[in-house]
């Protein structure tokens, strides 16, 4: 009698190499593609309505604090190269604060503690060549000192 050995079931292991290749492909794709978006914030303001003052019109108010921003060169003076990427702050037409926005904030907070109302208009008057970042910093300083009425001077049309 011949006894047949029971045929051993054919074992096959799924080939892992291609699967690993696929997984690594996907992994590399998902590692390389996402980029971290910087958190953008907003400074919210309102533009005056058409019934408000138009550019060039002098607006008379009782008390107004003026922040003038001049674009200067590294020496602190206007330079001829046209770049003038630094700033010089004059607060309330009297105080020259150099480029120190922390001092500007302190000066504004001092005004508040002296009893100046939060609704007092603050006029930010940059020269036309003044960089946008300095204007934003001045706005920041005024908001940090909790003033609520901040105006920008605009050029004559």
């Amino acid at each position: 009698m011949k006894f047949k050995k029971p045929a051993e079931p054919a074992k096959m292991q799924p080939p892992m190499t291609p699967m690993i290749d696929c997984v690594f492909n996907l992994l590399i794709f998902f590692i390389l593609t996402p980029s971290f978006a910087l958190s953008e914030g907003f400074l919210t303001t309102n533009l005056p309505t058409s019934s408000g003052p138009v550019p060039g019109e002098k607006q008379l108010t009782e008390v107004r604090l003026k922040i003038e921003l001049f674009n200067v060169g590294r020496s602190g003076e206007q330079e001829d190269d046209g770049k003038n990427e630094f700033v010089s702050i004059i607060f309330n037409e009297t105080q020259n604060l150099g480029s120190n926005f922390a001092a500007l904030r302190s000066a504004l907070e001092d005004k508040r503690s002296q009893g100046v109302a939060a609704t007092t208009p603050i006029l930010i008057s940059p020269t036309m060549g003044c960089r946008h970042k300095w204007v934003v910093r001045a706005f920041d300083a005024a908001v940090a000192a909790r003033f609520t009425n901040i105006q920008f001077a605009v050029p004559y049309q």
Binding site: K4, P6, A7, E8, P9, A10, K11, M12, P14, P15, P18, M19, C22, N25, L26, F29, T33, S35, L38, S39, E40, G41, F42, L43, T44, T45, N46, L47, P48, T49, S50, P55, N71, G82, K83, E85, S99, N100, F101, A102, P126, T127, M128, G129, C130, R131, H132, K133, W134, V135, V136, R137, F139, D140, V143, A144, F152, V154, P155, Q157
Partner: protein
């Protein structure tokens, strides 16, 4: 006597080749079709601010105006198209007419080194189109980590 043969169990072996083909198909499909949506924004170096906060802008009809820094001067770009200030006023007026019932809002994304003159021109253009909301976009900076100039 008949002795039943034990049936050999057949193992199902998974044929990997079509699966790999499908995976690669899917991979290529997702690589090619994924678009990183930032339709209105241009690449702009934003100024830093410690008092800026994230806001919910979905209740407004927003227009994102980018001012890119091109050789020290500002270039106004809305939806990847450049504009001059008069064109911008016209465009904003048209948008305002079509935005019935929703408040119009300008979200300004101006480069930090753009001269104030260019920002003021956009402000005047928005004022001429009688748009009231004016949001300046900045990068949020923590107070104690304030950097980038005094």
């Amino acid at each position: 006597m008949k002795i039943a043969k034990t049936k050999s169990l057949c193992t199902v072996s998974l044929n990997m080749t079509p699966m790999i083909d499908m995976v690669f198909n899917l991979l290529i499909f997702f690589i090619l079709t994924s678009q990183f949506a930032q339709l209105e924004t241009e690449e702009v170096v934003l100024p830093l601010s410690t008092t800026a906060t994230t806001k919910d802008y979905t209740e407004f009809r927003n227009v994102v105006i980018n001012i890119k820094n091109k050789d020290g001067a500002g270039e106004i770009i809305v939806f990847h198209r450049p504009f001059t200030p008069p064109e911008l006023t016209e465009h904003l007026k048209q948008l305002k007419e079509s935005a019935v019932g929703r408040i119009m809002n300008v979200i300004l994304r101006a480069d930090a080194d753009v001269p104030y003159e260019d920002v003021a021109r956009v402000m005047l253009a928005a004022g001429a189109a009688q748009i009231q909301g004016w949001w300046i976009t900045t990068e949020i900076e923590k107070k104690d980590e304030a950097r980038g100039g005094t």
